[in-house]
Amino acid sequence: MTPPTQEPFLKRLMDNPWLLLVLGVAIPMLSYTAWGWVEILLVKPATLP
């Protein structure tokens, strides 16, 4: 009896809308939003001349 073959990882990923949703939200939120937010927070307020 042959063991059941597992589908390729990429196909399993693309058939899982919930994992895609998590990754699709997490990547831009970290790379664009969180990183950019931190950079803005680290800007020192300008002093008047």
Partner: protein, 571 residues
């Protein structure tokens, strides 16, 4: 949740299902989904009409020889145009696409009518609030509404309502996917059109979250309840809404390309995994592209800018190039399979050019790829952006992507949506066949006129360039080309609205029979199916076109580096 979903069977072909049989496609159509597709599509076309009227007023003002509007109305109408065209028309139509994609191809009913009603009511109320606030002169802040410019609270509340309403519709989409999978209404993976819509829905979630993050504190500030949010922070989060909403368009548009290609020529994706992989790249990386709006902003560093606009974003560009290849390649293979095998481009002349949905999609692919795509990647490069930022080149770029690409593709889809969902055949079919060409030609002139004027330094969002004395006859010529193009494009847009409304009122009903066919590619007599199954060069025409595209890309990209060197010589 039980009260929301009642006891209606999920599968549309189950006994007691609230569905009808489509006499054209043979598919089952969910009646709830059909109602909300109709509502969303009609609302979308109304906002398109409003935005189009605003477009001609703006173009005839930027065309210095005409200079139609007074200054206050110019900025008012510019705000109105941006929100109606980039947000309302697109979001309402996308909700229609989402409701279609999660029900009919999956043989599943819509998760909840109540949620769909709530979503639609919030979106419509919000959009009307925003439009009224702008037109009474309480929100002359442009679409971006950058702080410290401040509009009436109703403006921000309206945008929040539209965002929350759309998010609610997206929830309904995901819940429908869930019940369809749970109740096994389909076998295997979801169809490619649904997968494209899924990508659009995921990007929409990110987009609308940014909308909520930025608009809620701005609304409370406008009410005097909280301090002013930091303007730099506002810009960064706002572009997470403003640009990402256009990435939702890209996904929905590509899904429409595949759908119409299949309906008009019988094309099937060249390789499903590759096409889905390209959508996956969109899901993971396309939202980072918002950073290119901040390339000249001082508060974010070069690492953030370059990572988000180059390394990561190019994976999304790769995805667009994959779709830009596989859509025409699948059409070419379908045509060659039907027997049109002569030469490199013999299949092109046999394409169903009289089908307005098909011609709209072909023009959409060409304008989006050759104009919008090439300019987008170039302008999104940090160094080159410095010579183009805030010029009309940016406006020229996104009129090629959002209008020449997305709007034209959505117009093309309407030529099937109205006969299949509203069940009325189009009136004035000769005019309908002409409409995409007129709109595509007009918007091409608009985009090129803006791009060349911007290359000469003409700024965007500027009421009057004359006082500077810096712009000569060439700039005015290109602004004139933009103006004439806008007249042509808006005429085509009005024709589109006229055709849609005329069909809904006077179109012949097609219930009980197939819709009147627009024209589809036919198999040559005696040619058997599967002729090209083992021909690896069956897409050679598309490969040649791709070579032309890549050469154009390289020439434009390096010409811009040369232009940068001219502006900023390195000794």
């Amino acid at each position: 949740m039980t009260s929301l979903t009642a006891t209606i069977p999920t599968a549309l072909d189950a006994p007691g299902a609230q569905s009808r049989h489509c006499d054209t496609t043979g598919l089952k159509v969910c009646l709830s989904s059909q109602s909300f597709i109709k509502l969303s599509a009609v609302s979308a076309v109304v906002f398109l009409l409003l935005g189009g009227i605003a477009a001609i007023l703006l173009a005839l003002t930027r065309w210095q020889a005409v200079h139609l509007l007074p200054v206050d109305w110019f900025y008012r109408i510019l705000t109105f145009h941006g929100l109606n065209m980039l947000i309302f028309w697109i979001l309402f139509f996308e909700v229609a696409i989402l409701y279609f994609a999660c029900t009919i191809p999956l043989n599943a009913r819509l998760f909840s009518r109540k949620i769909a009603w709530a979503a639609f009511a919030m979106m419509l109320t919000g959009a009307v609030m925003v439009d009224v606030t702008i037109l009474v002169g309480r929100a002359d802040v442009l679409m971006t509404s950058y702080l410290p410019l401040l509009a009436h609270p109703a403006f921000y509340l309206g945008i929040i309502l539209v965002a929350v309403g759309t998010l609610t519709a997206v929830f309904n989409f995901f819940a429908t996917l869930y019940i369809a999978k749970r109740d096994r209404t389909y076998e295997g993976s979801v169809p490619l059109v649904t997968f494209g819509a899924l990508a659009a829905a995921i990007i929409a979630v990110v987009t609308l979250l940014h909308g909520a993050i930025v608009m809620i504190p701005t609304f409370t500030y406008s009410m005097g309840w909280t301090p002013q949010p930091d303007p730099m922070w506002y810009r960064m989060i706002w572009w997470g809404l403003g640009h990402q909403s256009q990435q939702v368009n890209v996904c929905a548009m590509v899904a429409v390309w595949y759908l119409v290609g299949h309906l008009a020529t019988g094309a099937k994706p060249v390789n499903e995994t590759v096409c889905r992989g390209a959508f996956l790249l969109y899901i993971l990386f396309i939202n980072l592209a918002s950073a290119h709006h901040l390339l000249v902003d001082p508060a974010v560093g070069a690492s953030w800018k370059i990572w988000n606009t180059s390394y990561a974003m190019y994976l999304a560009v790769l995805a667009s190039m994959i779709h830009g290849f596989t859509v025409p390649a699948s059409i070419e293979m379908a045509m060659r399979d039907k027997g049109y095998v002569k030469g490199l481009f013999g299949w092109v002349t046999a394409l169903p050019w009289r089908n307005p949905a098909f011609s709209a999609v072909v023009l959409s692919v060409v304008i989006f790829g050759f104009i919008g795509g090439i300019t987008g990647v170039t302008l999104g490069t940090q160094q080159i952006n410095i010579i183009a930022h805030n010029t009309l080149r940016i406006t020229g770029h996104f009129h090629a992507t959002v209008v020449g690409g997305t709007t034209l593709a959505f117009m093309g889809l309407a030529y099937y949506v109205i006969p299949l969902i509203f069940r009325r055949d189009f009136v004035w079919r000769g005019a309908a066949r002409l409409q995409p060409w007129l709109f595509g030609g007009g918007i091409l002139m608009v985009s090129l006129g803006m791009s060349f004027a911007g290359s000469l330094g003409v700024p965007r969002r500027d009421y009057d360039i004359e006082p500077s004395g810096a712009f000569g006859p060439a700039s005015h010529l290109f602004l004139g080309i933009m103006g004439v193009g806008a007249v042509v494009a808006v005429t085509a847009l009005l024709l589109f609205c006229f055709l849609c409304v005329g069909t809904l009122l006077f179109g012949e009903r097609n219930s009980g029979r197939a819709m009147a066919e627009w024209g589809a590619a036919q198999r040559l007599p005696g040619v058997r199916e599967g002729l090209l199954d083992h021909d690896h060069w069956a897409m050679k025409g598309t490969i040649a076109l791709t070579a032309v595209f890549l050469a154009s890309f390289a020439v434009y990209y390096f010409a811009n580096w040369k232009a940068l060197a001219d502006v900023w010589p390195v000794q």
